[in-house]
Subunit: 316 residues, 4 copies
């Protein structure tokens, strides 16, 4: 068995998980300082509100993920060139983004599609961070890539198709880096929380979950945004939840509407694809916003956040 | 073939649909007053933005459906008693609802469940309208019920499970009453528009479409709110679109979050289940709000509508 | 409350359903002749194996639906003309079909598509029956059509999109005619059984259920054949279950493979679309077999049925 | 660009894939020995019937995968102990299985579930092979595990949740070992073929695809067997296709019916979970057959295969 400590404002909770044999409950109850022993009924333990009732949060650059303000991550699907990533970084920084996304290792359905710039892409992201001060969110695709990616990234992104790549979850957990965990297109909310549990079980609590659309019969849009997942996750887990309206709609024309919907539904943040010239993008051009469209989106998001009494994100 | 006239602000459009043989295009082009002849490429014709580019709207009681303001319909799942419906009607009227919903004929999965009060329910709804001035929205389940229901209702609701009951669509269309057409749980957006087309083909344009959740693999919530459908329908059709967060979530605790999301995404209105004592409701208690919860929801909705520059609904 | 009598080989079962108040169990137990009182835990009662443990069967023309042999229903999607329906009827009769299908009232997604010949279609089906001796299976779309259709049809078909048209289920049940009830494209197995319960609750037990494919994310085929439903229904209900591989695949080239799969999985029968010239069909040409393809399918089906020790269907 | 050679019976095909720039078609056409240049329209190239029109097959132990006979793989979900795996191996060998399955590295939804015996499990599988002569099929979960697993396994299994783990696909492809590629629960048929393309692009053609059920709204069974995928894949690809009715139903009582359905629909083989004591299994007990149930299944499968004119599998 392994213990997990949580220091809440009113009490200290010690989570005890794993192990084939049952806990000797009576013996534990009689230990000094033990007030109560509460079995967690959900299959996920450390991820549950039963273990940690308050919302979790952690610092990322100048902002707090899971805090009262909204987190806005923006950037291109893939890092394509030095000029592209620097141009986007500057633009989204000016519009109000708090972190920069960009793929260096790209999971692509076809082996013949652009697979990302690899380490060169990571170095370009690091350069953008140095110039514009935005923390970097980028995807890691395999356990053996974790050390390399963790060297450059502020947040390790685990993509939707790797949500149940358990070796990768373990490696990302063990890295103790913040993790952005995307929901798989056919993963239930419980599946998502079980995958988060893998990371938490490694002692890593800096996780944000990301709804990015699920696969349904509807094909008018690329995916179906499971907007219900925002309040549903909020009731089940203490982990912050962000929305990726770019993937969840697949259509630039719908991104702002769904971004606003996500904020209205209570999301802790957004991750948005932005490209200087969407039509020339090597991947996901159809769903990428121009910097101008992104700037407009941020203004609308701020208006809604204020109407709901949520501070738009401010410096710590 | 049958013609459908639309008088737009800049031009008059005559829709010509039906008929097995092809139109003699050359002959039509040479008729006096004909500027252009435009084939509509979508399978739905009268429902498409190609036929009517502006948003359609129609008057309902003191408000305009599809206008700049939001329409809020509220009331119990089923009319259960005189005191119940009058209590709800008064409460939702005071909180700001514009129309009253309530089922008299109830489609129930089980033949042993409460099937509604029938005509008595309709009479109680009429009494509530007389007392509180709210137009009535109520479901009609079969073609032969249309004359009876149309006698009492201001809006004929066609339920999700009857969305492709084509005989009913024809009858509702022919009644020339306003229709609230709910999307079936496995209907695509195109299916929904094809069903609206049945009503439009009868010359009845006073239709509002309603997203009420689709059936997916996710079972953490009763249905999956297809929030993408709001902007997607907005781009494809001129018909107003409302959201039913009560059915689309199935959980009272999530209704407000999803109602706000719907407004943020651009819905023209909401339909919300309200019951004085949800735990004692004969149907859908799990997803019904109390009058107090509803009042709070309306206030939040108004705040968001204002932040988005949309007037909250006002008298005509 | 209403009682339903079932005379089994070993005991007589009296089903008691409906009613808002609880049964006085003690009083019932003390009635003369009462051996046991067994609550049925499933939401469907009369449809459950708990009520009737043996497989139900009923006679249709020269064969028995739900008996040891297989039922094969074949014919065109729509009755299009006298020559078409007579040609198909003769061909499928010669190949070994036991009943003729053909739509006179057609539920079509578009109001502008061919809607069927109506009563004229019914009369042509009756003529085909008179000439070739095949019982007729045809769809009824609305409660008020039931008397007309029942006058011509041996089996009333309730289509997938009407599976939860409860007024129609009640009317078909009350007609006491055999009913072929198709599963809706997004109906669960439990939903299907609840709809059968409506018919059973009217005292009508001559029902066959039909799996015709469900709607999923996969679009390589028109629908997804839920082959699991065959053994799953077999374990839950006593009602016979047939498969419609024409709709469940939507592709003539896959119909035979899936028909064989259905028989191998334990289906009680098949319903197959056959058209003399599929490319000229007014509906469903893509999934219709030619008479020759159908003849080949029947031979393969018989080979499998024999290998599984099931008599191919013989005269009563 | 990279070339892939296929020597068919009538012609030699050279596949040319990859590369950002377009092929100089005219130059290629004029090379000596070139008859025709055919663009492949599908997104998957090497996997398509357009590239290789004949069914592919390869030898595995004493049988041929993709040959006229059926391949039957059987064994426990997880290797749990020496006695367990040897007992199952002997039993399934005697009943007619051609290969032994068993998990040593187990992808589990929960981090607290049994994760497999790891290398010890691989060694036990090797011992079973030595004793009973069955080739071994076992899962590999991460690229860095490939060399270890390939040292013990005759077939590398890539699990459903790793179907789009592209680094793993590349590593398995590069190993040049036979691969059993399972379809992901929300993967389309095209997605599956794109994943196979990753392996093929590494020059590895010994692949069998495996339908193991997809995720849909239906929850009466663990997954929905996409039986349509059997003929659909058969029409699109030359790769052999097998069915896993244990996972595709999740219910031991339905496995035989669906196994038979798979064979009737044209599957090239089956993979079946067998455990000496299903109720005590550390994983998947609900869907595991006893050795006796498996023996009965094999007899039924053979009867159907013979009825369809397919030799049951014989020695090479």
């Amino acid at each position: 068995m392994r213990t997990h400590l949580y220091r809440g404002e009113e009490r200290i909770v010690i989570g005890v998980v794993g192990g084939a044999q049952r806990l000797n409950q009576e013996a534990v109850r009689q230990l000094p300082g033990v007030d109560r022993l509460v079995p967690i009924t959900r299959p996920y333990k450390l991820a549950s509100r039963e273990f940690i009732p308050e919302k979790s949060s952690f610092r990322l650059g100048e902002v707090r993920v899971g805090g009262p303000g909204l987190l806005i991550i923006a950037g291109p699907c893939s890092v394509e060139s030095r000029s592209q990533i620097l141009e986007v970084a500057q633009a989204v920084r000016e519009s109000g983004a708090h972190a920069l996304r960009g793929g260096a290792f790209k999971p692509r359905t076809s082996p013949y599609s652009f697979q990302g710039l690899g380490q060169e892409g990571l170095e370009l992201l690091a350069e953008a961070r140095a110039l514009f001060g935005l923390p970097i969110v980028t995807e890691v695709m395999a356990p053996e890539q974790v050390p390399l990616v963790a060297q450059f990234a502020d947040v390790l992104q685990i993509g939707a198709r790797n949500m149940q790549n358990f070796n990768l979850l373990n490696a990302a957990g063990a890295s103790q880096q913040p993790v952005l965990l995307k929901r798989g297109p056919s993963a239930t909310i419980e599946d998502l929380l079980m995958s988060a549990e893998y990371i938490l079980a490694q002692g890593n609590r800096r996780i944000m979950l990301c709804e990015r659309g699920i696969r349904t019969f509807e094909n008018a849009t690329r995916n179906t945004t499971d907007i219900n997942a925002i309040p549903a996750l909020g009731s089940l887990t203490h982990l912050p939840v962000i929305l990726d309206p770019s993937h969840s709609t697949g259509e630039a024309g719908f991104v702002e509407a769904i971004a606003l919907a996500g904020v209205a539904a209570g999301a802790d943040g957004l991750i948005i694809e932005v490209h200087p010239k969407p039509k020339e993008a090597l991947s996901d051009g159809q769903q990428s916003l121009t910097p101008d469209q992104f700037a407009r989106l941020v203004r609308s998001v701020q208006a809604i956040a204020e109407a709901l009494g949520r501070a738009s994100q401010v410096s710590l």
